[in-house]
């Protein structure tokens, strides 16, 4: 069967790829575009490891079809650092040891950035609810929440 040709924007750059109709956006990012930062933890919308922004909304890329990216804007973890300069969240995750194995980390970072971009000063409860769709089997979450709080303080100071 003929593959579909998709023209989209990924991290601000125009990109094109070929995909099967039933291929997920996550698989296309990883396998067709070589952007392997987004992870597959479950493939069923439960873990958030595949989190990306699609037209400015936080979504699970494992529950979007690659063909749906046609004409839309996708932002992934690969677009988060500014060259060699880490995003404040990436830095505070390292400083606060908010990761161990790291498989959940790209998803947490993309989701946490989406939160701080709309609410620069969320409460701990708001952070925990916002990130409820991101699972981590290693850290126990407290260090992740602290890293997000610390990044929020730094980002407010810079703004």
């Amino acid at each position: 069967m003929a593959k579909r040709h998709v023209t989209t924007t990924v991290n601000g750059e125009p990109r094109e790829f070929l995909c099967e109709v039933d291929q997920t956006l996550l698989d296309a990012l990883r396998d067709e575009l070589g952007l392997t930062g987004s992870k597959e933890g479950c493939g069923s919308g439960d873990c958030g490891a595949c989190s990306v922004m699609l037209d400015g909304r936080l979504v699970c890329s494992c529950l979007a079809l690659a063909v749906e990216a046609e004409g839309r804007e996708v932002e992934t973890i690969e677009g988060m650092a500014d060259g060699d300069r880490l995003h404040p969240l990436q830095r505070t995750f390292l400083e606060e040891a908010a990761l161990q194995c790291g498989i959940c980390t790209p998803g947490f970072l993309v989701a946490a950035k989406a939160l701080l971009d709309r609410d620069p000063d969320p409460s701990e409860t708001e952070i925990r609810y916002w990130l409820a769709g991101n699972l981590c089997r290693c850290t126990g979450y407290d260090k992740i929440v602290r890293a997000v709080q610390k990044a929020a303080v730094e980002m407010r100071a810079e703004a």
Binding site: M1, R4, E20, V21, D22, T24, G43, S44, G45, D46, G48, S51, L54, R57, L58, V59, C60, C62, L63, A64, L65, V67, E68, E70, A111, A114, L115, Y129, W130, L131, A132, G133, N134
Partner: protein, 289 residues
């Protein structure tokens, strides 16, 4: 390889034509948070996917006749940001926002939640309580149907071949009317309702209930409108006796499954308790507007 086609038409007419032509082999795609999960687990294998998210009418939220018209594919995250809708029908919006995580909210729609046909769909009992109707487009034109008429059995709807839910009409809210939705789940986020209850009440100046609607989810093969539960409230001042009658009527309407997430007896009991609590919240809201 099995052939599978994807189309993203820009109009309702084109979508309906494609769905009608392909019949059972076709599925509309809204947020995909049910459809793609089911495709990936090979529960279903559609041959034609009709993505409805390029049709402006399915993505619009607009005022209409004192109420709101909400496109069937509008994601929860978008409706939750609409302050006017939240102010008028907080129960419908809180039920919709309970669906999944932030990521799921970025895609999940009211149309998908209803048409997936789950008896436990969170937004459905809330829409039933608020008296929401759907506009349905099909090969023979458009029709309106109350939300409670859509789901017929688990995974089954009354939609005919080629029919698509285009939008929902949230009616104008009468004076001193409030709605609320509560569900019971074993954890606080990311779970499927063991029981869900939507209640809407209207009070008169003196605090007597003049109208009520009660919707129940996860306690029968399909979401239910329960007139007997509403009747327990109408004409009363929502005193303890009326609330006890409401709870009894809600429990009596249940015909639930027994599973590891909740036994039959437990679901029946909890339906009554939640109906009462939801009616309490709805009446507080009714008094304040």
């Amino acid at each position: 390889m099995r052939s599978i086609q994807y189309e993203a038409p820009a109009t309702v007419d084109e979508a309906v034509a494609r769905l009608a032509e392909a019949g059972d082999k076709a599925r509309p795609l809204a947020g995909g948070t049910d459809l793609i999960v089911q495709m990936r687990s090979r529960l279903i294998s559609p041959e034609v996917i009709v993505d409805v998210k390029n049709i402006p009418e399915l993505l619009q939220v607009s005022e209409e006749g004192g109420g709101f018209r909400v496109g069937a594919a509008v994601p929860g995250a978008v409706l939750g940001e609409n302050e006017a809708v939240v102010a008028m029908w907080p129960g419908v919006v809180e039920a919709f926002e309970l669906i999944g995580s932030t990521q799921i909210q970025g895609r999940a729609s009211l149309g998908g939640n209803l048409c997936n046909g789950s008896p436990a769909a969170d937004s459905t009992p809330a829409m039933i309580a608020a008296g929401v109707t759907c506009e349905i487009a099909g090969p023979n034109g458009r029709r309106e149907a109350p939300v409670e008429d859509l789901v017929t059995a688990p995974g089954e709807t009354s939609l005919g071949r080629g029919e698509l839910v285009v939008s929902f009409f949230l009616p104008p809210r009468p004076a001193r009317t409030g709605d609320a939705y509560l569900r019971f789940i074993p954890r606080t986020e990311m779970d499927i309702a063991v029981v869900g209850v939507g209640v809407c009440v209207t009070l008169d100046d003196g605090g007597t209930c003049t109208g009520a609607r009660v919707g129940l989810g996860a306690v029968a093969p399909r979401p239910l409108l329960v007139p007997a539960a509403a009747d327990a409230l109408v004409g009363t001042r929502l005193d303890d006796g009326a609330m006890a009658n409401l709870a009894a009527a809600a429990s009596a309407a249940c015909n639930p499954i027994d599973d590891k997430r909740g036994t039959k007896t437990y679901r029946i009991k909890v339906a009554g308790v939640l109906a009462r609590r939801a009616a309490g919240i709805a009446s507080e809201r009714a008094r304040s507007n």
